[in-house]
Symmetry: C2
Subunit: 417 residues, 2 copies
């Protein structure tokens, strides 16, 4: 007999089902606007319907379900997260939040709520296909930028073309946008993707703010020449310059209490016996506040420019992403904290608040409605890796807390003058 979908075991079983929808048999990769994405939307829509929700896929490929509240057409409290993954992903980043949202909607079937309840599985949070994160949630927030249509994936396919291939009409992406008046707020459950809850021996935490990343594409430009025949004084090796930059980025970030990651580095022409003429790398930069982050970038940029100057290398920098830090709304922080108090996680302690180093769909939604987040402890802080793991007990407490948080939101809405 299978576990009920409202239980922690049921939630984990559904996460394992989503694992099967991958571009690769050996590891999980589900990118934006792929066949796997379409299949994940269909599977999730089926679960939503089992939970009594009316379902639709919106104009940006996000999967939605909705159940009306006390009266039809009321503004909605939205619960959700994302269904896309990074390459070689774990099983919980995003998916756990979507599956928990469905489970909580099922638990609240028949509850008397003063708002409609909606569940969403966003189409793109990671940005792993087009290099631009939060495409799904930004469409919903109404912050879509038409310049994104020209973004290309590794195969040269534009976002515009991918929309068409997926059966979406790019001209109608605006239909995915929600108006503030339609929304009560947005709540998202997510694994912490960091070590702080585990270090504090807590299952759950509420999020105070989400740090905003800036991302850059840097191109170091040298000269491709023969590996054997070119003596050092005549070399302008783009990879050695880029490597010095990678090492400097780590040193500066550590010294300045920021987090900086070079996740991609590509060398051209990329032959064993040719000096690299070009190296393209990405930089993802985060800090506790936007001011600290921006000051750190100024220092890093100057340092990298100096490395390139000394080596006779060119440098091109393009900013590909910039998200401001998004504070969680005070009343939704309180609702999530109230939800955590309703579990057996705490003993006499108070719920733990923490800021998110990782970006989340809630950042984009903050442009259109109040947002709140519930974090679940994950094993050793590991994420974006097949070793990503959560404990069943934490999922059980998370479901209880998430359900209680929704009830707390309902109480808050009812008490409004």
């Amino acid at each position: 007999m299978s576990a009920p979908p409202t239980s922690a075991a049921g939630v984990l079983a559904r996460c394992a089902e989503l694992d099967q929808l991958s571009a690769h048999p050996q590891h999980l990769e589900r990118l934006h606007l792929t066949a796997e994405h379409a299949a994940a939307n269909r599977l999730t829509a089926g679960w939503m319907e089992l939970a009594g929700l009316r379902t639709w896929q919106d104009a940006a490929g996000n999967q939605w379900g909705r159940r009306e509240g006390a009266a039809p057409g009321q503004p909605a409290l939205v619960l959700g997260s994302h269904l896309d993954t990074v390459p070689d992903a774990g099983s919980f980043d995003g998916m756990l939040g979507v599956v928990m949202a469905v489970a909580v909607a099922e638990r609240l079937r028949g509850a008397d709520l003063p708002f409609a309840l909606e569940v969403v599985g966003f189409s793109d949070e990671e940005g792993a296909r087009f290099g631009k994160a939060l495409l799904g949630s930004q469409a919903v927030a109404g912050t879509w930028d038409p310049a994104w249509w020209d973004l290309r994936d590794d195969d040269g396919v534009t976002l515009h073309r991918a929309f068409g291939d997926f059966g979406l009409d790019p001209d109608r992406v605006g239909d995915a946008a929600r108006r503030p008046a339609e929304l009560v707020g947005y709540l998202e459950a997510h694994i912490e993707q960091g070590p702080y809850l585990e270090a504090a021996d807590r299952s759950l935490g509420y999020v105070t703010a989400i740090a905003g990343a800036r991302r850059f594409r840097l191109s170091v430009l040298g000269e491709a020449r023969h590996a054997g025949g070119t003596p050092y004084p005549r070399r302008r090796d783009a990879l050695v310059g880029a490597s010095e930059a990678v090492v400097a980025v780590e040193r500066l970030a550590r010294a300045g209490d920021a987090i900086a990651t070079v996740g991609r580095l590509e060398v051209l022409p990329g032959a064993v016996n040719v000096i690299p003429g070009r190296a393209d790398l990405t930089l993802d930069l985060r800090a506790a506040t936007d001011e600290e982050r921006d000051a750190m970038w100024d220092v890093m940029r100057a340092e990298i420019a100096g490395i390139c100057d000394r080596r006779g290398l060119g440098l091109e920098v393009v900013e590909t992403h910039r998200a401001p830090a998004a504070p969680c709304a005070g009343w939704l922080q309180q609702a999530v904290a109230h939800g955590i108090r309703a579990t057996d996680d705490l003993g006499a302690a108070e719920p733990m608040g923490l800021w998110s180093r990782a970006g989340h769909d809630a950042m984009a939604l903050a442009a259109v409605t109040d947002v709140g987040m519930l974090f679940l402890r994950c094993a050793d802080g590991i994420s974006h890796s097949p070793d990503e793991d959560v404990r069943e007990v934490d999922v059980a407490r998370g479901l209880d807390a998430f359900e209680a948080a929704v009830r707390s939101v309902a109480a808050a809405v009812r008490s409004r003058p």
Copy 2:
């Protein structure tokens, strides 16, 4: 009226024709056992036939032409170079030597030679497709290693499969091997791919020895984790470790008078917001002698292992190529030097001898016959780049020298007791 194929202008025109046989319309890339390779063999065979040679493609995809000497079936003096290129290549590395060899064979039509004259266009010198260099010339030298059949290109195609796709029978690769008794020697003309002739204001030089490269594939193994959520003490970033290794390789090579190049570096999983879990890089290492080169590798390996240890990273090393330094035969050095003296390059000066930092097909042929090489000045030492260039006057002198070198070999053979 087009330039005669025996002139420098005619040779440069044929190099430009070979440029058209590329996998890419915008830049030159002609890899081993591709459609472009087959087309280059056909075009070259046509030129060989115009020069009065009988042609065949051998069991390893090398293109040959032969004209008998004074008596049929005599041993052959082989002139040649390679027809494959690196990605985004220049127009002269390899091709110039093949086209010059055809031109010299044409010039020597009707000459009374005490050997057969053969011209060869080798199928693979660069190793750009399968990561293993000199595949064509090693088949001819009889030093083929069956382990190479499992080498794979970037699309996962094995060398064995590529042979079949090209219409070759892998079981018959041994048929390409030549016996020492069939050969008088091997002469190769090639651009210097270095700055030494230009610095000395010489068109031409003779090669004393070819330094042997060692090549390695290094894999730095870390842990893929979330870029935002993972604080520095928990990071095991494979790319930062690999970058330190790249910088150390340059520092050590410069200090030790070696030449070392990291030409490829690939990051996995390669997403903007994921800490690299793995970095695979290549190392190409050369020095004036095998002893210096091997001592340098020991130092580099220890340094890289230390970097990985300090960072909690794994390290795997595979040697993919090791060629011993190949000395050019004294009598063929003299023949080439004699050929240079027959040109107007020198005034009263003696021909310049130099050792080759780059590998050449002659290295492989040295296992089966005596070898000699003629270097031509190239612009600013640039090679493996679209900016590769030679002056027409240097090609004219090179043709005169190469022809005179063959006549000098003929005189030496005739004078044998």
